[in-house]
């Protein structure tokens, strides 16, 4: 079971960083960062297979691949931005974290603009 490994990594990292925090707080940050990256890499392969299955599902029902790729890109942007922002917050850099979140939001909105515009076009064309 992967969850045991992941929880073990998380617990060990948490204990280590708590132990070391009094002596050298900056090393505690490194530990949590590295543990975060390891867990992320662990789970990204699983996520990959889930996304593969989702795209198979989308092929079966009649969704255009454009929509699927847009949704998946948005989910990916959300994940990565969230990960970066959390790492920054852990390091005590709340300002940097909010900048990353801002960039993520803008990129998500950029992905949404084409859908919005063509939907408006569609509705304008439909109304006589």
């Amino acid at each position: 079971m992967e969850i045991f490994q992941i929880v073990a990594i998380g617990l060990i990292a948490a204990i280590l960083s708590v132990l070391i925090k009094n002596e050298k707080p900056e090393i505690g940050m490194y530990i949590s960062l590295v543990a975060g990256v390891i867990i992320f890499l662990f789970i990204i392969t699983r996520l990959q297979s889930v996304i593969g299955i989702l795209s198979q599902l989308a092929n079966k029902i009649n969704i255009d691949s454009t929509y699927l790729s847009i949704i998946l890109k948005i989910v990916g942007i959300a994940y990565i931005a969230e990960f970066g922002a959390q790492v920054c917050k852990d390091a005590g850099e709340g300002v940097m974290a909010s900048k990353i979140e801002f960039a993520g939001k803008v990129l998500i909105m950029v992905m949404a603009v084409p859908i919005l515009v063509s939907l408006t076009d569609l509705i304008i064309n439909m109304v006589p």
Binding site: L54, Y67, I71, I74, E82
Partner: protein, 208 residues
């Protein structure tokens, strides 16, 4: 009735799909944004069959691609205009790369060919039409999966394909296929990017 049945099935499966996506979303304030976009997509899915009742056929996918392309173009223009980006060539290379990726995914999703190379020619900075595509050179390959086993009596032929002024590349293939499919793809791409058909070159290489 068959039309309504299909419509209902599509809507229900899209709703299930969206619910599944919602599980994947990280638990954060991005959730709101993603919900808005999935909601928009749901509206699109519900409305698309209704376009059959009006005379005009609207290709939604093509519209989305066109707007993506416009966005890329304006982003490239803004970046070049910005003083921060002194290296225009890098920005242009990025822009060309984005366009060729778009074309690649468009062709590979809609036809049975694999894109092996795309060359994009773009108006340069001095022109007022900066950023518009002036020419496209696309090299396609047939998918290897459904090709017949190679005929041993025919030796592979080296074909010299020279494109533009400074691109002189050699492609190895048994023969070049010239067919009406090329024209179809040309038409699609010229609609999508507003490039005249004369400026689009498509080479199709046969595997067997």
């Amino acid at each position: 009735m068959a039309f309504i049945r299909e419509w209902v099935i599509t809507i229900i499966s899209v709703i299930i799909f969206v619910t599944f996506i919602e599980i994947l979303i990280p638990n954060s304030n991005y959730k709101r944004y993603i919900n808005v976009i999935t909601g928009l997509l749901l509206i699109v899915v519900i409305l698309t069959p209704l376009t059959k009742f009006i005379n005009r056929q609207i290709d939604f996918e093509e519209e989305v691609l066109k707007i993506f392309n416009q966005l890329e173009l304006s982003t490239a223009r803004n970046r070049v205009n910005n003083i921060e980006y002194s290296n225009d060539e890098a920005v242009m290379a990025l822009y060309k790369n984005k366009i060729s990726e778009q074309i690649k995914s468009y062709i590979e999703n809609n036809t049975e060919y694999i894109v092996s190379e795309v060359f994009v020619e773009v108006e340069d900075e001095n022109s007022s039409q900066f950023g518009t595509i002036t020419g496209l050179d696309i090299t396609l390959r047939e998918k290897t999966g459904n090709s017949k086993p190679a005929n041993k009596t025919v030796k592979p032929v080296q074909i010299n394909v020279s494109i533009g002024k400074n691109n002189n590349n050699t492609v190895e293939a048994s023969s070049i296929l010239i067919s009406s499919k090329e024209d179809l793809i040309k038409g699609d791409i010229s609609d999508l990017y507003d490039v005249s058909k004369d400026n689009i070159n498509i080479h199709i290489l046969r595997n067997n």
